[in-house]
Symmetry: C2
Subunit: 159 residues, 2 copies
DNA sequence: CTCGATGCAAAATTTTTGCAGTCCC
DNA sequence: GGGACTGCAAAAATTTTGCATCGAG
Protein backbone atom coordinates (compact mmCIF):
# COMPACT_ATOMS: atom_id res chain seq x y z
CA UNK A 1 0.00 0.00 0.00
CA UNK A 2 1.59 3.25 -1.05
CA UNK A 3 1.44 6.59 0.76
CA UNK A 4 -1.41 7.90 -1.31
CA UNK A 5 -3.68 4.97 -0.56
CA UNK A 6 -2.79 5.04 3.10
CA UNK A 7 -3.85 8.68 3.19
CA UNK A 8 -7.13 7.87 1.56
CA UNK A 9 -7.78 5.17 4.12
CA UNK A 10 -7.11 7.47 7.09
CA UNK A 11 -9.39 10.02 5.57
CA UNK A 12 -12.12 7.44 5.05
CA UNK A 13 -11.87 6.31 8.65
CA UNK A 14 -12.33 9.86 9.87
CA UNK A 15 -15.25 10.40 7.54
CA UNK A 16 -16.86 7.26 8.89
CA UNK A 17 -16.24 8.46 12.46
CA UNK A 18 -17.99 11.71 11.63
CA UNK A 19 -20.90 10.03 9.87
CA UNK A 20 -21.29 7.74 12.87
CA UNK A 21 -21.30 10.56 15.39
CA UNK A 22 -23.83 12.51 13.38
CA UNK A 23 -26.30 9.69 12.95
CA UNK A 24 -25.96 8.64 16.58
CA UNK A 25 -27.01 12.13 17.57
CA UNK A 26 -29.80 12.63 15.08
CA UNK A 27 -27.69 15.02 13.05
CA UNK A 28 -27.39 15.11 9.29
CA UNK A 29 -24.44 14.89 6.93
CA UNK A 30 -25.00 17.97 4.85
CA UNK A 31 -22.91 19.18 1.95
CA UNK A 32 -21.57 21.97 4.10
CA UNK A 33 -20.45 19.55 6.80
CA UNK A 34 -18.82 17.38 4.16
CA UNK A 35 -16.90 20.36 2.83
CA UNK A 36 -15.83 21.42 6.30
CA UNK A 37 -14.65 17.91 7.12
CA UNK A 38 -12.66 17.76 3.88
CA UNK A 39 -11.11 21.11 4.73
CA UNK A 40 -10.15 19.82 8.18
CA UNK A 41 -8.54 16.75 6.67
CA UNK A 42 -6.40 18.95 4.46
CA UNK A 43 -5.02 20.89 7.39
CA UNK A 44 -1.40 20.07 8.01
CA UNK A 45 -0.99 22.32 11.01
CA UNK A 46 -2.95 24.34 13.53
CA UNK A 47 -5.79 26.38 12.15
CA UNK A 48 -8.30 29.00 13.21
CA UNK A 49 -12.00 29.16 12.50
CA UNK A 50 -11.24 31.70 9.81
CA UNK A 51 -8.62 29.45 8.19
CA UNK A 52 -11.14 26.66 8.12
CA UNK A 53 -13.83 28.87 6.61
CA UNK A 54 -11.48 29.89 3.81
CA UNK A 55 -10.51 26.30 2.99
CA UNK A 56 -14.08 25.03 3.24
CA UNK A 57 -15.37 27.82 1.00
CA UNK A 58 -12.76 26.75 -1.50
CA UNK A 59 -14.38 23.33 -1.61
CA UNK A 60 -17.98 24.53 -1.42
CA UNK A 61 -18.71 28.23 -1.78
CA UNK A 62 -21.99 27.90 0.05
CA UNK A 63 -20.27 27.28 3.40
CA UNK A 64 -20.85 30.20 5.72
CA UNK A 65 -18.96 31.44 8.74
CA UNK A 66 -21.87 30.56 11.02
CA UNK A 67 -21.84 26.96 9.86
CA UNK A 68 -18.12 26.67 10.45
CA UNK A 69 -18.56 27.96 13.98
CA UNK A 70 -21.47 25.60 14.50
CA UNK A 71 -19.44 22.68 13.18
CA UNK A 72 -16.39 23.13 15.37
CA UNK A 73 -18.06 21.76 18.53
CA UNK A 74 -19.46 18.86 16.53
CA UNK A 75 -16.02 18.02 15.19
CA UNK A 76 -14.63 18.17 18.69
CA UNK A 77 -17.34 15.91 20.06
CA UNK A 78 -16.54 13.52 17.22
CA UNK A 79 -12.92 13.53 18.42
CA UNK A 80 -11.78 14.63 14.99
CA UNK A 81 -10.27 17.90 16.13
CA UNK A 82 -9.32 19.42 19.46
CA UNK A 83 -9.06 22.97 20.65
CA UNK A 84 -5.57 24.30 21.20
CA UNK A 85 -5.47 27.33 23.43
CA UNK A 86 -2.34 29.31 22.85
CA UNK A 87 -3.22 32.37 24.87
CA UNK A 88 -4.19 34.55 21.97
CA UNK A 89 -7.43 36.31 21.31
CA UNK A 90 -8.78 33.56 19.11
CA UNK A 91 -8.86 29.80 19.24
CA UNK A 92 -6.72 27.37 17.35
CA UNK A 93 -7.68 23.86 16.42
CA UNK A 94 -5.68 20.78 15.51
CA UNK A 95 -6.58 17.46 13.95
CA UNK A 96 -6.66 14.75 16.60
CA UNK A 97 -3.97 12.15 16.33
CA UNK A 98 -4.67 9.14 18.47
CA UNK A 99 -1.13 7.89 18.02
CA UNK A 100 0.17 10.77 20.05
CA UNK A 101 0.06 11.15 23.80
CA UNK A 102 0.05 14.37 25.77
CA UNK A 103 1.33 17.30 23.74
CA UNK A 104 3.08 20.33 25.09
CA UNK A 105 2.72 23.46 22.97
CA UNK A 106 5.70 25.58 22.16
CA UNK A 107 4.94 28.92 20.57
CA UNK A 108 7.66 30.92 18.88
CA UNK A 109 7.36 34.48 20.09
CA UNK A 110 8.95 35.81 16.95
CA UNK A 111 7.08 34.10 14.16
CA UNK A 112 4.04 32.86 16.03
CA UNK A 113 4.37 29.31 14.83
CA UNK A 114 2.93 26.68 17.13
CA UNK A 115 4.78 23.44 17.60
CA UNK A 116 3.69 20.48 19.62
CA UNK A 117 5.98 18.01 21.22
CA UNK A 118 5.39 14.83 23.15
CA UNK A 119 5.55 15.35 26.88
CA UNK A 120 4.13 12.09 28.24
CA UNK A 121 5.32 12.87 31.74
CA UNK A 122 2.93 15.80 31.94
CA UNK A 123 -0.06 13.58 31.94
CA UNK A 124 0.98 12.14 35.29
CA UNK A 125 2.20 15.43 36.66
CA UNK A 126 -1.01 17.33 35.97
CA UNK A 127 -3.01 14.61 37.66
CA UNK A 128 -0.75 14.83 40.70
CA UNK A 129 -1.15 18.60 40.90
CA UNK A 130 -4.95 18.30 40.86
CA UNK A 131 -4.78 15.52 43.38
CA UNK A 132 -2.95 17.80 45.76
CA UNK A 133 -6.07 20.00 45.78
CA UNK A 134 -8.41 17.05 46.19
CA UNK A 135 -9.62 17.28 42.64
CA UNK A 136 -9.72 15.07 39.61
CA UNK A 137 -7.86 16.25 36.51
CA UNK A 138 -10.00 16.40 33.38
CA UNK A 139 -7.52 17.81 30.91
CA UNK A 140 -4.29 19.69 31.03
CA UNK A 141 -1.90 21.60 28.87
CA UNK A 142 1.63 22.86 29.04
CA UNK A 143 2.38 25.95 27.04
CA UNK A 144 5.85 27.24 26.52
CA UNK A 145 6.46 30.56 24.90
CA UNK A 146 9.93 30.52 23.39
CA UNK A 147 12.29 32.19 20.98
CA UNK A 148 14.74 30.88 18.48
CA UNK A 149 18.19 31.34 19.98
CA UNK A 150 19.15 33.71 17.23
CA UNK A 151 16.03 35.71 16.43
CA UNK A 152 17.63 37.07 13.29
CA UNK A 153 17.69 33.62 11.82
CA UNK A 154 14.35 32.32 13.01
CA UNK A 155 13.79 29.28 10.85
CA UNK A 156 10.02 29.39 10.95
CA UNK A 157 7.91 31.23 8.44
CA UNK A 158 6.56 34.50 9.68
CA UNK A 159 2.87 34.30 10.49
CA UNK B 1 5.48 44.57 63.18
CA UNK B 2 1.90 43.43 63.06
CA UNK B 3 -0.04 42.17 60.04
CA UNK B 4 -1.60 45.50 59.27
CA UNK B 5 1.69 47.36 59.11
CA UNK B 6 3.27 44.62 57.07
CA UNK B 7 0.43 44.95 54.56
CA UNK B 8 0.95 48.67 54.36
CA UNK B 9 4.63 48.19 53.72
CA UNK B 10 4.04 45.72 50.89
CA UNK B 11 1.58 48.10 49.37
CA UNK B 12 4.01 50.99 49.61
CA UNK B 13 6.73 48.95 47.96
CA UNK B 14 4.44 48.18 45.05
CA UNK B 15 3.38 51.79 44.76
CA UNK B 16 7.03 52.79 44.64
CA UNK B 17 7.67 50.15 41.99
CA UNK B 18 4.86 51.61 39.90
CA UNK B 19 5.96 55.20 40.40
CA UNK B 20 9.48 54.20 39.38
CA UNK B 21 8.36 52.43 36.23
CA UNK B 22 6.21 55.35 35.20
CA UNK B 23 8.84 58.00 35.64
CA UNK B 24 11.48 55.87 33.96
CA UNK B 25 9.24 55.72 30.91
CA UNK B 26 8.12 59.32 30.85
CA UNK B 27 4.67 58.37 32.05
CA UNK B 28 2.64 60.19 34.66
CA UNK B 29 1.11 59.09 37.92
CA UNK B 30 -2.44 60.27 37.43
CA UNK B 31 -5.32 59.97 39.85
CA UNK B 32 -6.85 57.28 37.66
CA UNK B 33 -3.68 55.22 37.72
CA UNK B 34 -3.51 55.63 41.48
CA UNK B 35 -7.07 54.36 41.82
CA UNK B 36 -6.41 51.43 39.52
CA UNK B 37 -3.28 50.51 41.45
CA UNK B 38 -5.18 50.64 44.73
CA UNK B 39 -7.88 48.43 43.24
CA UNK B 40 -5.25 45.95 42.12
CA UNK B 41 -3.72 45.86 45.59
CA UNK B 42 -7.10 45.01 47.07
CA UNK B 43 -7.55 41.99 44.83
CA UNK B 44 -7.26 38.77 46.76
CA UNK B 45 -7.71 36.50 43.80
CA UNK B 46 -7.76 36.45 40.02
CA UNK B 47 -9.63 39.25 38.36
CA UNK B 48 -10.80 40.36 34.95
CA UNK B 49 -10.56 43.80 33.35
CA UNK B 50 -14.22 44.30 34.22
CA UNK B 51 -13.65 43.34 37.87
CA UNK B 52 -10.85 45.84 38.06
CA UNK B 53 -12.93 48.57 36.46
CA UNK B 54 -15.66 48.04 39.04
CA UNK B 55 -13.24 48.18 41.98
CA UNK B 56 -11.35 51.17 40.60
CA UNK B 57 -14.56 53.07 39.93
CA UNK B 58 -15.45 52.45 43.56
CA UNK B 59 -12.30 54.31 44.55
CA UNK B 60 -12.52 57.02 41.89
CA UNK B 61 -15.66 57.31 39.80
CA UNK B 62 -13.80 59.05 37.01
CA UNK B 63 -11.92 55.89 36.02
CA UNK B 64 -13.09 54.69 32.64
CA UNK B 65 -13.00 51.31 30.97
CA UNK B 66 -10.53 52.57 28.39
CA UNK B 67 -8.11 53.66 31.06
CA UNK B 68 -8.29 50.31 32.79
CA UNK B 69 -7.51 48.56 29.52
CA UNK B 70 -4.69 51.00 28.87
CA UNK B 71 -3.31 50.44 32.36
CA UNK B 72 -3.18 46.66 32.27
CA UNK B 73 -0.12 46.49 29.99
CA UNK B 74 1.59 49.15 32.10
CA UNK B 75 0.95 47.17 35.26
CA UNK B 76 2.32 44.08 33.59
CA UNK B 77 5.43 45.89 32.42
CA UNK B 78 5.87 47.11 35.97
CA UNK B 79 5.74 43.47 37.10
CA UNK B 80 2.87 44.25 39.42
CA UNK B 81 0.40 41.94 37.76
CA UNK B 82 0.64 39.11 35.28
CA UNK B 83 -1.80 37.74 32.76
CA UNK B 84 -3.31 34.37 33.56
CA UNK B 85 -4.74 32.66 30.55
CA UNK B 86 -7.29 30.09 31.54
CA UNK B 87 -8.62 29.27 28.12
CA UNK B 88 -11.76 31.33 28.36
CA UNK B 89 -12.92 34.14 26.15
CA UNK B 90 -11.51 36.85 28.34
CA UNK B 91 -8.30 37.38 30.22
CA UNK B 92 -7.63 37.01 33.88
CA UNK B 93 -4.97 38.81 35.82
CA UNK B 94 -3.25 38.09 39.12
CA UNK B 95 -1.06 40.15 41.41
CA UNK B 96 2.57 39.14 41.05
CA UNK B 97 4.10 37.49 44.05
CA UNK B 98 7.84 37.33 43.86
CA UNK B 99 7.96 34.89 46.77
CA UNK B 100 6.31 32.27 44.64
CA UNK B 101 7.98 30.23 41.95
CA UNK B 102 6.32 28.70 38.94
CA UNK B 103 2.57 28.42 39.39
CA UNK B 104 0.38 25.80 37.82
CA UNK B 105 -3.24 26.78 37.34
CA UNK B 106 -6.00 24.42 38.29
CA UNK B 107 -9.47 25.41 37.13
CA UNK B 108 -12.55 23.78 38.60
CA UNK B 109 -14.78 22.87 35.71
CA UNK B 110 -17.88 23.07 37.86
CA UNK B 111 -17.55 26.36 39.68
CA UNK B 112 -14.95 28.06 37.54
CA UNK B 113 -12.68 28.94 40.40
CA UNK B 114 -9.03 29.27 39.55
CA UNK B 115 -6.45 27.98 41.96
CA UNK B 116 -2.72 28.23 41.65
CA UNK B 117 -0.26 25.85 43.14
CA UNK B 118 3.50 25.78 43.26
CA UNK B 119 5.00 23.51 40.66
CA UNK B 120 8.69 24.43 40.71
CA UNK B 121 9.61 21.37 38.70
CA UNK B 122 7.73 22.78 35.73
CA UNK B 123 10.14 25.61 35.36
CA UNK B 124 12.87 23.18 34.49
CA UNK B 125 10.64 20.93 32.46
CA UNK B 126 9.30 23.68 30.20
CA UNK B 127 12.82 24.87 29.51
CA UNK B 128 13.83 21.34 28.59
CA UNK B 129 10.90 21.02 26.20
CA UNK B 130 11.87 24.22 24.40
CA UNK B 131 15.48 23.12 24.35
CA UNK B 132 14.47 19.98 22.52
CA UNK B 133 13.32 22.23 19.68
CA UNK B 134 16.45 24.36 19.80
CA UNK B 135 14.62 27.26 21.35
CA UNK B 136 14.87 29.34 24.47
CA UNK B 137 11.86 29.30 26.81
CA UNK B 138 10.52 32.75 27.63
CA UNK B 139 7.54 31.84 29.77
CA UNK B 140 5.45 28.81 30.39
CA UNK B 141 2.27 27.68 32.04
CA UNK B 142 0.66 24.48 33.11
CA UNK B 143 -3.10 24.48 33.14
CA UNK B 144 -5.10 21.68 34.63
CA UNK B 145 -8.82 21.56 34.21
CA UNK B 146 -10.27 19.53 37.04
CA UNK B 147 -13.41 18.66 38.96
CA UNK B 148 -14.13 18.26 42.60
CA UNK B 149 -14.40 14.54 43.24
CA UNK B 150 -18.02 14.86 44.25
CA UNK B 151 -19.44 17.58 42.00
CA UNK B 152 -22.59 17.77 44.14
CA UNK B 153 -20.52 19.02 47.02
CA UNK B 154 -18.14 21.28 45.21
CA UNK B 155 -16.66 23.38 47.97
CA UNK B 156 -15.97 26.43 45.87
CA UNK B 157 -18.41 29.26 45.42
CA UNK B 158 -20.13 29.24 42.07
CA UNK B 159 -18.83 31.88 39.78
C1' DC C 1 2.86 75.44 29.13
C1' DT C 2 3.52 71.05 27.03
C1' DC C 3 2.81 66.62 26.00
C1' DG C 4 1.10 62.51 28.06
C1' DA C 5 -3.42 60.80 29.75
C1' DT C 6 -8.32 60.63 29.84
C1' DG C 7 -13.35 59.83 28.76
C1' DC C 8 -16.42 58.95 25.42
C1' DA C 9 -18.25 56.64 21.81
C1' DA C 10 -17.34 54.36 17.73
C1' DA C 11 -14.75 50.54 15.81
C1' DA C 12 -12.49 46.17 15.71
C1' DT C 13 -12.35 41.20 16.61
C1' DT C 14 -13.98 36.91 17.37
C1' DT C 15 -17.95 34.17 18.19
C1' DT C 16 -23.02 33.51 18.89
C1' DT C 17 -27.81 33.79 17.73
C1' DG C 18 -32.67 34.81 15.69
C1' DC C 19 -35.13 33.99 11.79
C1' DA C 20 -37.01 32.70 7.50
C1' DG C 21 -36.09 29.65 4.12
C1' DT C 22 -33.70 25.01 2.62
C1' DC C 23 -32.84 20.17 2.16
C1' DC C 24 -31.51 15.57 4.40
C1' DC C 25 -33.39 11.29 5.88
C1' DG D 1 -42.91 16.15 4.99
C1' DG D 2 -40.89 17.34 9.22
C1' DG D 3 -37.39 18.72 11.76
C1' DA D 4 -32.49 19.54 11.42
C1' DC D 5 -29.62 22.77 8.98
C1' DT D 6 -28.29 26.87 6.54
C1' DG D 7 -27.00 31.78 5.32
C1' DC D 8 -27.50 36.22 6.53
C1' DA D 9 -27.18 39.94 9.26
C1' DA D 10 -27.67 41.59 13.67
C1' DA D 11 -26.05 40.95 18.36
C1' DA D 12 -22.74 39.74 21.97
C1' DA D 13 -18.67 40.10 24.37
C1' DT D 14 -14.25 41.76 25.03
C1' DT D 15 -10.73 44.93 23.80
C1' DT D 16 -8.83 48.82 21.00
C1' DT D 17 -8.72 53.37 19.05
C1' DG D 18 -9.64 58.39 17.32
C1' DC D 19 -10.36 62.68 19.01
C1' DA D 20 -11.18 66.68 21.64
C1' DT D 21 -10.09 67.94 26.17
C1' DC D 22 -7.71 67.72 30.61
C1' DG D 23 -4.07 67.92 33.85
C1' DA D 24 0.71 66.36 35.83
C1' DG D 25 5.23 67.89 36.02
Amino acid sequence: MDEKNKQTTDSDTTTELFREHLSQHGMRLTNQRKAILQAVLRQTQHFTAEDLLAKAKHIDVSVSRATVYRSLPVLMQSKIIREVDVGRDFKYYAVEDKRKSFQAQVICRKCGKIMEIDAPFMDWYGKAVAEKLGMEAVSQRLQVEAMCRDPEHCVFARK
